[in-house]
Symmetry: C2
Subunit: 337 residues, 2 copies
């Protein structure tokens, strides 16, 4: 019987993820039944929202139960199949356990689109979660017009590095906020941002006022807390605020108060709207086709931060909350086919 | 020379309005110039937002300057005119000083629509501010569908008492939150609400969960603070939250933190949107025609809380923040013509 190594949710963390929050176990894997297929894991996506699944607050989906396998977006190669639509040798992706092998009946995995010219790392790193999130958040929720000023927090992160470029493709001005001089350099030199603000060394509100003297049209929020307050302070009348993520609050067991400048929803007549990319599954082909085309045309630049080995998955996840990541974090569990 | 009694902004209050915040002074009134007209004040509207104009935070309009006359929505009878479009005997309304006589050049006052069958108190009390605010907030910002569950805070207040009825006219279910058994009785017996919650004696979240087991589709917020948190907690996925007012925060000199359940913008994928009725001036005729028709058909019920005498204007305003008002607060400065 095949053995599988799988991370399990062992103990609920109070704040930051702790050494015993998740544990890696080796377990036997039952033989495939009719209608199932076996996937050898290649890449596992690390997303800020994963931390929320370890809490016990009311979420947009059921959290991970204590004792159950930890899950995430995973892609791999089908190496055995008793499902006619999922042939051996194809690539499949879906929300699955953190494990070196996973089994699916096709209800929770989809075949990965085969895009000539894109490596699997790029296709999965950008097209699985970050790209659709950036595209939907900016264009469907933020809805900027050409000429608008778009501000993005965590702009050097997986989603943020794409939002600025999509804004530029649509004729907007893009201002990114990130932590540290190096990340700020990426924003303007690699990711097409018109300007970058280093929140670690600059007064964000002052710099936003200088860079957007007429105010922000669309604020794309990945962080929450002080960053969101800065954006709300400098919004233009009738602007929109996209709540994509609130990573600054995800390590807290209790709800964190909303922004102090909440009153600006009235003062500036703002629309503030949250979204979850899982709701857009049916439109993924459309989003992925658009993103892939931009990638192949060289119009979307990005950094992938690949951590090797399933053993290192927890450390990889923690990079997101320390800001230690350099681009989109993913774990390489096995070799690309 | 005619004398006018006028309230002036004397000293910025720290929190609640203080005895020396506004002072009443008698002053000479210059003779009319060409293009001006003189209005004998009849009604002055008291609106929660007035308190904001006495602060020094960034608002949706310029605040009242220290030393300047306090302003509000006012209606009166034109008793002298050197403006061809504003004849003597007509009624005019606009954002004007709290005074027993006001002068206008027509740029800041409009003729009141003449609606046969409506008394001036009703026409002004409902059609000047509260009615358009309720209509725009619910239908243009909240946009409920028939069958939706609409929750309204400060539901016995000037705007809230109308929102529930407009929701019912549009085929929605309306739940109102108010303070005290008497106001809750009005909600269901006079203002057409399907259910009322007394926040002074009931657990609002629990009651909302009972009354809206599938969640709230549209939450209409007049209060902020705990009330808004209760609504956010019980929102349905993809619901909308109308930020009409945040009266619980208006007596604070500093920005008050936003709702603790802000994260539910993501978890429930909410649209939260603020508005200011002043932005809709151009559409007032449309709104007033619709509201007046409902009033004449007996489909809109309301209570007017009329306080007599310009001397009592400050006490009238303070009723809004203590919850001591019984319906729409207005000051009768002079007799109806």
């Amino acid at each position: 019987m095949r053995q599988v190594r799988r991370w399990h949710f062992n103990k609920r963390p109070k704040q930051d993820i702790e050494p015993d929050t998740l544990v890696l176990r080796e377990e036997p894997l039952a033989a495939l039944k009719d209608g199932e297929f076996l996937v050898r894991s290649v890449y596992l996506s690390m997303d800020a929202t994963n931390r929320l699944w370890l809490g016990d607050l009311d979420l947009y989906m059921a959290p991970v139960s204590l004792g159950a396998p930890m899950i995430g977006f995973l892609a791999g190669e089908i190496i055995e199949s008793r499902h006619p639509d999922f042939p051996v040798g194809s690539l499949a992706a879906g929300l699955k356990p953190w494990a070196d092998f996973v089994v699916s009946d096709g209800s929770d995995m989809q075949l990965m689109p085969n895009i000539p010219g894109l490596k699997m790392a790029d296709a999965f790193g950008i097209l699985a979660v970050a790209g659709p999130t950036a595209l939907v958040g900016l264009m469907e929720i933020g809805r900027p017009k050409p000429g608008d000023t778009v501000v993005v927090t965590a702009a050097a992160g997986a989603v943020g590095m794409l939002v600025g470029q999509i804004a530029k493709i649509h004729g907007c001005r893009a201002i990114g906020i990130a932590g540290g001089a190096e990340k700020c350099r990426w924003l303007t030199e690699e990711f097409g941002y018109d300007a970058a603000i280093d929140y670690k060394s600059e007064n964000v509100v002052e710099r936003l006022r200088q860079l957007a003297p007429d105010g922000i049209d669309v604020h794309f929020e990945n962080v929450g807390g002080e960053m969101l307050d800065a954006g709300l302070t400098v919004m233009k009348d009738f602007g929109s605020v996209v709540i994509c993520g609130l990573i600054s609050t995800y390590n807290s067991a209790e709800p964190v108060p909303g922004p102090r400048m909440f009153r600006n929803l009235i003062m500036r007549r703002l629309r503030v709207e949250g979204f979850v990319i899982l709701d857009y599954a049916a439109r993924y082909p459309e989003f992925q086709a658009k993103l892939a085309q931009w990638m192949l045309e060289g119009r979307l630049h990005y950094r992938l931060h690949v951590v090797d080995g399933l053993d290192n998955a927890v450390d990889a996840l923690k990079l997101l909350y320390s800001g230690g990541n350099q681009g989109k974090v993913m774990v390489r569990i096995g070799a690309e086919p």
